[in-house]
């Protein structure tokens, strides 16, 4: 019945071309947070919370195109870097290395446990009578990004499962007579609208950085948003040609920052400041100050500076700390304001 209709011809833009990352207007905090996780994937993910229509999903999908490609063993289901790292169950014969774009895996709401962790390959079992493992989304996301839109609406049992894997970096499957482990180190990117439901504090804490996005508040910026989006849709080729160049420059900076990261030094002073900020904010556990320090180092590396300074700490502290505060019902100020206030007091 679809044959008589001309729906696909109406499309003016090729499917699945993400909007270029550098063409996103404003939203500096969100872009910075994403760049930092690209520089140091160990930061532990980004949580983007905000109003509707502020480009949350756009930014995450744009990140995929921006990131430098990774080298993987051809055909390896978990994107291993060398043939030795390939899991036994995958039976990878070739040791050919290929370049692949950094994987960005979408975790849709309502996904089943089987799809996430991987399960017995039913097709092989039915047809050949063999017991073999069919890898899930976690395997595909290894060394890349796992993106959860509307993360606050995800079912609890999936959330628990993700928490466990994100923490250990290993996915363990013990079911249907299978016993399989494979590496699953990924950066968790969640986006959502806080009005639709809150995240459990346990999950909040696992995200390294958090950003709150708002609609741009000047007419000029808003006009620019519409203009670029429209150009993207109608004048696709020349628009992409221009912004691809910008994206490439950003990618080069990220690659350079990754190389510089091990040599970026942190002084005793910086460590003390991290601890002081964390203490003053009263965050639970040590994950806050660890993330703060790592984020500051990533920022220093991204800016091409040899050491972490107070300015770096001040810039990343709202990203690293604002979601770790305990909610105080009698304090009317938002968490970002509270972080800013504490920074003012401790870092002067």
């Amino acid at each position: 019945m679809a044959g008589t209709h001309a729906a696909p011809e109406i499309r003016t833009q090729p499917m699945n071309t993400p909007f270029p990352f550098s063409a996103i207007v404003g939203q500096t905090q969100m872009k910075l947070a994403m760049i930092l996780t690209a520089v140091d994937p160990g930061l532990g993910g980004v949580l983007v919370f905000g109003d509707r229509g502020t480009g949350k999903s756009t930014a995450v999908r744009a990140l995929a195109a921006l990131l430098p490609p990774i080298t993987v063993v051809s055909g390896c289901p978990v994107n291993s870097a060398t043939p030795e790292q390939c899991p036994d169950w995958a039976n990878i014969a070739s040791d050919k290395l290929v370049e692949r774009p950094t994987p960005v895996v979408d975790l849709p709401l309502g996904v089943t446990e089987d799809r996430v962790t991987g399960a017995l390959d039913i097709e092989r079992a039915l047809t050949a009578g063999e017991k073999s493992f069919e890898p899930g989304l976690l395997a595909r996301a290894n060394r890349g990004y796992l993106y959860i839109d509307e993360v606050n609406l995800l079912e609890d049992h999936i959330v628990d499962l993700l928490l466990d894997v994100a923490q250990s970096g290993v996915n363990t499957v013990e079911r249907e007579g299978l016993s399989i482990r494979h590496p699953a180190r990924f950066v968790l990117v969640g986006s959502g609208n806080p009005e639709e439901g809150e995240l459990r504090p346990q999950l909040l804490d696992r995200f390294g950085l958090s950003v709150e996005v708002r609609s741009p508040d000047t007419i000029k910026e808003r006009v620019e948003v519409i203009r670029r989006r429209n150009a993207f849709e109608t004048d696709h080729d020349s628009f992409m040609a221009h912004w691809r160049g910008e994206d490439a420059m950003l990618r080069d900076r990220i690659v350079a920052a990754r190389e510089a990261l091990p040599d970026t030094s942190t002084s005793e002073d910086a460590l003390t400041n991290c601890a002081r900020v964390s203490l003053a904010l009263g965050t639970d556990g040590l994950r806050g100050e660890l993330t703060l320090l790592r984020a500051a180092r990533a920022l220093a590396a991204f800016q091409g500076q040899p050491a972490v300074t107070r300015a770096h700490l001040r810039e990343v502290a709202p990203l690293a700390m604002s979601h770790r505060l305990r909610r105080d019902p009698l304090d009317e100020a938002g968490s970002a304001t509270r972080v800013a206030r504490v920074l003012e007091e401790t870092l002067e």
Partner: protein, 558 residues
């Protein structure tokens, strides 16, 4: 021309634009009750260049995104997958859209974002003003039309020609527009307090579609006005400044303080015609709607996701989950058999002499149900000197009446009385009418009004109730004239600050509240209190127990 008739024309125009640019405009929400008028509109949907399919709010993922077809797989001996609705571009009609839960809304929104070429038509049959299609979905669709109480005679059949639309569709991509168009649309959106960046984009695409319909080479001012009038009014959150004539001018005082807070950036309005074109179509209850939204605060947030509880005994069925036999959960036999079915060939190979049906523990699927939790109504009754003694008798009567229906309504009631220096929990959460009567008979009156203390106790009871699985509600009977702060000494201003802080805390908890102003001449204090509590306000100077009971029940169940 009445408002309804104009709406019908607008709806048809929106449909025409949608069929010219389905991929850019994504769809529409049609608010109308099921009936011949809606039927007539649905007939016009054949103009869309897509096959029309109906889905329903409880559609499952397999139908939506495709999945394993067990029966076909077994007979064919290899995997047979069903194609889901999301796989082929179609115009999806979703009736009863106001009942869509957040999960389905999120999945459909994801589908729209993925550019699968779908167009969605949400048929919103909500009766109450706050029964709406989920916002996450509504924002992604260009048009929102309200047919209201239109009669069939007022809704003539459409005069749109499929062939003309087809031609317009081809012209659409070549329609040009001047760069001032974007600026005008964005400024207009800002004037109406629309923050979503999708709105101006939709308006731009709509203007182009309308220009294509008119066989124009570029977007003219008329197209721009029409497009803005189609897209903006339902998204507006305020009436712009310097409006010559707001459509309803009764609510001006509130309006001004809202607009001044919006910033100076919006001071210059370049295209007043555009603004006026939109303003004509603003919904009559715009401000009331905003007020309502603010008052209900975080509660409308979950789109009804609030007070629910998962169980395995009763309630509405949810999708099954893997589980264990012998637990408290009930086994879903059909789902279990379906899980086991694909394995039978394989298992029989290993166990040729076994039973004909081999089911492993891992196949077992259990049922889950979702249950609405019982309601806990906390009555906080002002027994101070400022509230007349007769009030107390009525409050007691109302509590007893509610308790009498408690078994049917599954309510529990608690009573906090406040007088003198401190509040007192007269009746812990109970369902027992006898116990309640006994405790209520000895309630003295007179003294100060420790409002803050009353709120503190109520919040304590409510949070305990919440932990025990109830949905707490507060009904507070007072005149709102607090004069005793939390520390028990006197001091009117301090008392008010404390009461405000405690009320805010209640509002943060997200539990519903209703303030029943019992004073003979209601002052502003009661209304203030309702605002702080993010609750409703009822003024009932002369209510008897029965009135009070039914009003409380109605206000809290709304």
């Amino acid at each position: 021309m009445t408002r309804e008739v104009r709406n019908w024309d607008m709806a048809l125009r929106a449909l025409a634009a949608l069929s010219v640019a389905p991929n850019a405009l994504r769809g529409m929400i049609l608010r109308a009750r099921a009936g011949p008028v809606r039927q007539r509109f649905e007939e016009a949907l054949t103009l869309l260049p897509l096959p029309v399919r109906r889905i329903h709010p409880s559609i499952d993922d397999t139908q939506l995104f495709g999945g394993l077809n067990v029966a076909a797989s077994l007979s064919a001996g290899h995997m047979v997958r069903d194609r889901g609705i999301a796989d082929t571009p179609a115009a999806l009609i979703l009736p009863m859209a106001e009942r869509t839960n957040a999960r389905l809304a999120a999945r459909l929104a994801q589908m729209l974002d993925a550019d699968t070429g779908h167009v969605m038509l949400l048929l919103d049959e909500g009766v109450e003003p706050d029964e709406n299609a989920p916002a996450s979905l509504a924002n992604r669709l260009a048009f929102h039309c309200d047919l209201g109480d239109l009669r069939l005679a007022e809704a003539p059949s459409h005069a749109l020609d499929g062939a003309l639309l087809e031609e317009a569709r081809k012209r659409y991509a070549d329609v040009t527009f001047s760069s001032t168009c974007i600026a005008d649309l964005v400024t207009a959106a800002a004037c109406f307090g629309i923050d979503d960046a999708r709105a101006p984009l939709f308006a731009l695409c709509c203007a182009r579609a309308l220009a294509a319909l008119d066989n124009a080479k570029s977007v003219g001012p008329d197209h721009l006005h029409d497009a803005a009038a189609l897209i903006y009014p339902c998204r507006a959150t305020r009436i712009p400044e310097n409006m010559p004539e707001p459509p309803k001018d009764e609510a001006n005082p509130e309006k001004t303080d809202e607009t001044t807070a919006a910033g100076d950036d919006l001071a210059d309005i370049p295209d007043t015609l555009l603004i006026e074109a939109v303003a004509v179509h603003l919904p009559a209850d715009l401000l009331a709607g905003q007020e309502r939204k603010r008052a209900s605060g975080s509660r409308d947030a979950g789109a009804g996701a609030g007070q629910r509880r998962l169980g395995n005994r009763r309630g509405r069925p949810l999708p099954f989950r893997p589980g264990r036999h012998g637990g408290t959960a009930r086994i879903d036999v059909v789902a279990t058999l379906r899980t086991a079915a694909p394995w039978q060939v394989l298992r029989r190979k290993h166990r040729p002499t076994g039973a004909r049906l081999i089911i492993f523990p891992s196949d077992i699927r259990v049922r889950r149900f979702e249950e609405r939790s019982d309601r806990l109504i906390v009555f906080a009754v002002d027994a101070s000197g400022s509230a007349a003694m007769s009030r107390m008798a009525e409050a007691k009567g109302a509590v007893e009446l509610l308790l009498a229906q408690a078994y049917v309504k599954r309510d529990r009631v608690a009573l906090v009385a406040f007088r003198g220096t401190c509040a007192e929990v007269l009746l812990p959460p109970t369902r027992s009418l006898v116990q309640a009567k006994k405790r209520l008979s000895a309630l003295p009156g007179g003294g100060g009004t420790p409002l803050a203390s009353a709120l503190q106790y109520s919040l304590e009871i409510a949070s305990q109730g919440k932990r025990a699985g109830f949905s707490p509600n507060l009904a507070i009977l007072t005149d709102g004239r607090a004069n005793i702060p939390l520390n028990g000494r006197t001091g009117r201003s301090e008392a008010l600050t404390d009461a405000k802080a405690m009320a805010r805390q209640w509002a943060l908890s997200g539990f519903p509240a209703v303030v029943i102003d019992t004073s003979a001449r209601p002052g502003p204090q009661g209304r203030d209190l309702a605002n702080w509590l993010a609750g409703q306000y009822l003024s009932m100077p002369r209510a008897d127990a029965e009135c009070l009971g039914s009003a409380t029940d109605a206000a809290l169940s709304g």
